[in-house]
C-alpha cells in the first residue's frame, strides 16, 4: 500500500468512524417487512381469487381429455387451452428432475446485474444464465477448487431444468443446494443439475426484473479455462437444448 492508499484508507475511516444507524433501525426494518408482506398478501389474495373462479371452468375441460394430455401426478390447471393447462400442471407440483436439486419461488434471491446483462448471458426459453460469457471462477485461498457465482433469471410461471453434459461432468458442478459462501468447495460439494420452478406471476419478487424469478447460486470447477456443456429442458418430455458455457478466458462454440 503506497502513501496515497494509506491516506485514502485513513480518510475513509475518519469520515465515518463515529457514525451509527439510528436506535430504531430494527423497528424500521420490521415495519418495512410488514408493509411488504401486506402488499404480497393482497397480490396472493388476488391470484387465489382468480384461481378459485377459473377452476370450476377448467374441471369439465380436463375431465373431457382425462388420460390424454396431463402427465402422471400432475394437477389440472385453470386454463381451458392445452398449452396453458400443461404449463400450470407442471407448475402445480414442483419436483426436482432426477439428478437435480430443486430451486423454487422461496429460494429466490434478488439482485441487480449490469445494464447489458442479456448480452453476456446464455438464454434458453424462460431461462437466463447471467453474465456467463464467460463465467469466472476464483479461489479465496481456502477452497480446494475454484468457484464462482451464478445468477439465474427464470421467467415467472416456468419450470425448467439444466444438467451438466458430456465430459464436463468430470470437472464441473453447480452450487445451488450447497452454495454457502464459505469459500470451500470440491466437486462433491456440488450438483450435476438444477431444476428451477419460478414464482407465479405477481406472487412475489420481480423487484429488479418484473416477470422473472431470480436465483443466486454458484459453480465449482476442477478445470479452468473450460468449455462446459449444459443441457437445458424447458418442458417435460421435450428434447434438451445444448449450450456451452465458457469458464475463464477461452473461446467456446455457443452450442
Amino acid at each position: 500500500m503506497n502513501d496515497f492508499e494509506r491516506r485514502l484508507t485513513e480518510a475513509l475511516h475518519v469520515a465515518v468512524d463515529q457514525a451509527q444507524p439510528s436506535g430504531r433501525l430494527m423497528e424500521s426494518v420490521m415495519r418495512r417487512r410488514r408493509r411488504r408482506r401486506a402488499r404480497v398478501g393482497v397480490a396472493s389474495f388476488a391470484v387465489t381469487a382468480a384461481v378459485a373462479l377459473a377452476v370450476p371452468l377448467a374441471i369439465p375441460a380436463v375431465r373431457g381429455s382425462a388420460g390424454s394430455s396431463t402427465s402422471p401426478g400432475s394437477h389440472p390447471g385453470p386454463s381451458r387451452s392445452d398449452a396453458s393447462r400443461s404449463r400450470s400442471a407442471t407448475f402445480a407440483v414442483p419436483v426436482a428432475q432426477p439428478g437435480t436439486v430443486l430451486q423454487n419461488c422461496s429460494d429466490q434471491i434478488e439482485g441487480q446485474y449490469a445494464t447489458d446483462w442479456r448480452s453476456q448471458s446464455i438464454h434458453v426459453g424462460p431461462l437466463w444464465l447471467i453474465d456467463v460469457r464467460p463465467a469466472y471462477a476464483t479461489t479465496d485461498g481456502s477452497s480446494p477448487l475454484p468457484f464462482g457465482n451464478l445468477g439465474v433469471n427464470v421467467a415467472d410461471d416456468s419450470y425448467v431444468w439444466v444438467k451438466v453434459a458430456g465430459r464436463a461432468r468430470d470437472y464441473f458442478r453447480f452450487l445451488f443446494g450447497a452454495f454457502n459462501a464459505n469459500g470451500s468447495y470440491t466437486l462433491r460439494s456440488g450438483e450435476t443439475g438444477v431444476t428451477f420452478t419460478s414464482c407465479r406471476a405477481g406472487q412475489e419478487g420481480g423487484i429488479y426484473y418484473p416477470g422473472y424469478t431470480q436465483f443466486w447460486g454458484g459453480f465449482v470447477v476442477a478445470k479452468s479455462p473450460a468449455c462446459v456443456t449444459l443441457d437445458v429442458w424447458t418442458r417435460p418430455g421435450g428434447r434438451p437444448t445444448r449450450v456451452i458455457m465458457p469458464v475463464g478466458s477461452l473461446r467456446c462454440p455457443r452450442r
Binding site: 469520515a15 465515518v16 439482485g111
Partner: protein, 164 residues
C-alpha cells in the same frame, strides 16, 4: 446481522456520499431482504454478511440509477471530520479525498470503498459485484487515478499494481 449493522451503515454512508438518511434507507432495505431470505441463508450454513453486502451494493446501484439524471449534492465532510483533533493540513487532505471519492462514478466508488474501507480482497469484491477480478482491478485503477487528478496529485512512478 443486527450486530454488524453499524459496519454496513458506515459502508452505506460512504457509498451515498455521506447522506445519512439515504444510508439508513439502504441499510433498512438490505436488512429487510436479508431477513426475508434468512431461512435459506442459515440452513446452508452461509455467511449472512456476504449476502447482506451484496444486497447493499445492489441497493446502492439502484439508488445511483435513480439519481444519475440529477447531480448529487456536494459532499460536506467538514462536520464529521471536525470532531477529530488533527492538524489542519491533514483534515483538508481527508476532506479533499472524500470529496474526490464522492465525485467518482458509482462502480469505481463501490470498488474503492469495498477495497479500502471494508478491506476486501479483489476476489471478494469480484464476487460481491458479480464481475471478474480484472474488471475490479480496472475500476480500482481508474478510480484511484481520477482521485489523484481531482486533488491535484501526480500519479506515482510505475510500480507493482494495487495489492491483491
Amino acid at each position: 446481522m443486527q450486530a454488524r449493522s453499524a459496519g454496513l451503515f458506515r459502508t452505506a454512508l460512504l457509498l451515498t456520499g455521506q447522506d445519512a438518511a439515504e444510508a439508513e434507507d439502504l441499510l433498512q432495505l438490505c436488512l429487510e431482504r436479508a431477513y426475508r431470505h434468512w431461512g435459506r441463508i442459515t440452513r446452508q450454513g452461509g455467511e449472512p454478511e456476504r449476502y447482506a453486502r451484496r444486497i447493499l451494493v445492489n441497493a446502492a446501484n439502484d439508488r445511483w440509477r435513480r439519481l444519475k439524471r440529477r447531480p448529487e449534492r456536494s459532499l460536506d465532510v467538514a462536520d464529521t471530520a471536525s470532531s477529530v483533533p488533527d492538524r489542519a493540513g491533514e483534515v483538508a487532505d481527508r476532506d479533499a479525498l472524500t470529496r474526490a471519492l464522492a465525485d467518482l462514478p458509482q462502480r469505481q466508488r463501490l470498488v474503492i470503498v469495498l477495497r479500502y474501507f471494508d478491506d476486501m480482497e479483489m476476489a471478494e469484491i469480484a464476487v460481491a459485484l458479480g464481475c471478474s477480478i480484472g474488471t475490479v482491478r480496472s475500476h480500482l485503477s481508474r478510480g484511484l487515478s481520477a482521485m489523484r487528478q481531482a486533488i491535484g496529485e501526480e500519479a506515482p512512478e510505475p510500480r507493482e499494481g494495487a495489492r491483491s
